[in-house]
């Protein structure tokens, strides 16, 4: 009985412990056989104000809503504005961005929407 209880506690789907504001971008990555991109907001806001990306570079306030692809980045748009080997490390470091667990859906980690309680038994929910 006790072992069962302990196992139940550990199996309980717990949220990942990634940092508040970490964005997972998985528009094309999984389908292309790459790991999804994890964007750490905390790391970037130490170095840049919000305005630099969200006004100058045109990043919309929407996870996965910017339709970023590698072609645009290599052209110097979006991430490529800095990740060009001059301001920040270049796009050749694939695995530094494409570092998420395969299959992770698009999300902003620990956002309010993620904190809302969801039905524990999906069979009883109306669709």
């Amino acid at each position: 009985m006790w072992s069962l209880a302990i196992v139940a506690v550990f199996i309980d789907p717990a949220p990942a412990v990634a940092e508040y504001g970490d964005v997972v971008i998985n528009n094309y990555s999984d389908a292309a056989g790459m790991r999804p991109v994890v964007f750490p907001h905390w790391f970037h806001r130490i170095r840049f104000r919000c305005k630099v990306c969200h006004a100058d570079l045109g990043f919309k306030f929407k996870a996965g809503g910017n339709d970023i692809n590698m072609y645009k980045i290599i052209e110097g748009k979006f991430c490529g504005a800095c990740h060009n080997g001059k301001v920040a490390w270049s796009v050749k470091n694939c695995i530094l961005c494409h570092s998420g667990n395969p299959g992770t859906p698009i999300q902003i980690h620990e956002s309010t929407m993620q904190e809302l309680a969801v039905p524990t038994n999906p069979l009883t929910t109306k669709k």
């Binding site: 069962l4 209880a5 196992v7 840049f48 919000c50 305005k51 006004a55 306030f61 998420g100 309010t112």
Partner: protein, 247 residues
């Protein structure tokens, strides 16, 4: 006393001894041999009740089988709080934060959050990143660039507070433009998220939690919605109607 107890005990003993055979024959009168053997091997079944009941041709009443009921498991349907997710240790490095792939070599190169937060002012609640980013900026702990390539560029700060009076009993909201213009350009909020005109914006907590209005940033990247007091920061001026809805 002795006599009474003896008198009571004798018929009970007789009934007990006779009960298995009686019970068996009553249940299955046709198969007496089988019943007898069954009675010998299994002399337990409910002798008192069988003896007390009048001889009926019906099979014995099936007792509720408790053993067939699934055992209740703690953590099954009734854990302590089934909607509360298990708390985990925050600010984990990328190698163990369950979002980064630990088998990816790049995950090990990434900076751990706590290393970056060293020396930065912390919030009281510790929610979100646990860092008071505005204070860190004001105190000069961090020097985030205003321009992508120009480290000396400075923002155009507008110091103007806007007080919003919630209809509920919560303290009034003071929106400081200063802290926001330190980070953002006007075009980030105006006019798409907030119409820059007094009384033109209907804001409520439900919309914020669903990621609209203030919730475009707060509750995602900026300090979380659960830090109520950082917005609802000005005590309500009690009106004539006792703080009820104004008009």
């Amino acid at each position: 006393m002795n006599r009474i107890s003896k008198l009571l005990l004798c018929p009970m003993l007789v009934a007990l001894l006779a009960a298995p055979f009686y019970y068996a024959t009553a249940a299955e009168p046709a198969k007496s041999k089988a019943a007898k053997s069954k009675g010998k091997t299994n002399p337990e079944p409910a002798p008192a009740s069988a003896a007390a009941d009048p001889a009926t041709t019906q099979p014995p009443v099936q007792q509720y089988q408790y053993s067939t009921r699934p055992a209740a498991v703690a953590g099954g349907a009734n854990p302590f709080n089934r909607l509360l997710k298990v708390a985990k240790i925050p600010h984990q490095p990328a190698s163990s934060d369950e979002i980064h792939d630990p088998t990816n070599e790049g995950s090990m190169i990434l900076q751990p959050p706590l290393e970056a937060y060293e020396g930065l002012p912390q919030t009281e609640t510790g929610l979100g990143n646990g860092v008071n980013w505005v204070k860190a900026l004001d105190d000069g702990n961090i020097k985030p660039r205003w321009e992508r390539t120009d480290p000396s560029a400075e923002p155009m700060v507008m110091d103007m507070n806007i007080v919003r009076v919630p209809k509920s009993s919560m303290p009034d909201v003071v929106f400081p433009h200063r802290q926001h213009t330190l980070w953002l350009a006007c075009s980030n909020c105006h006019p798409d998220i907030f119409i820059p005109r007094k009384g033109a914006n209907q804001i409520n907590m439900a919309a914020i939690i669903l990621g609209q209005k203030c919730g475009v940033c707060h509750g995602k990247v900026s300090f979380p919605v659960s830090e109520c007091k950082r917005c609802h920061s000005q005590p309500k001026k009690v009106a004539v109607n006792g703080g009820g809805p104004t008009q």
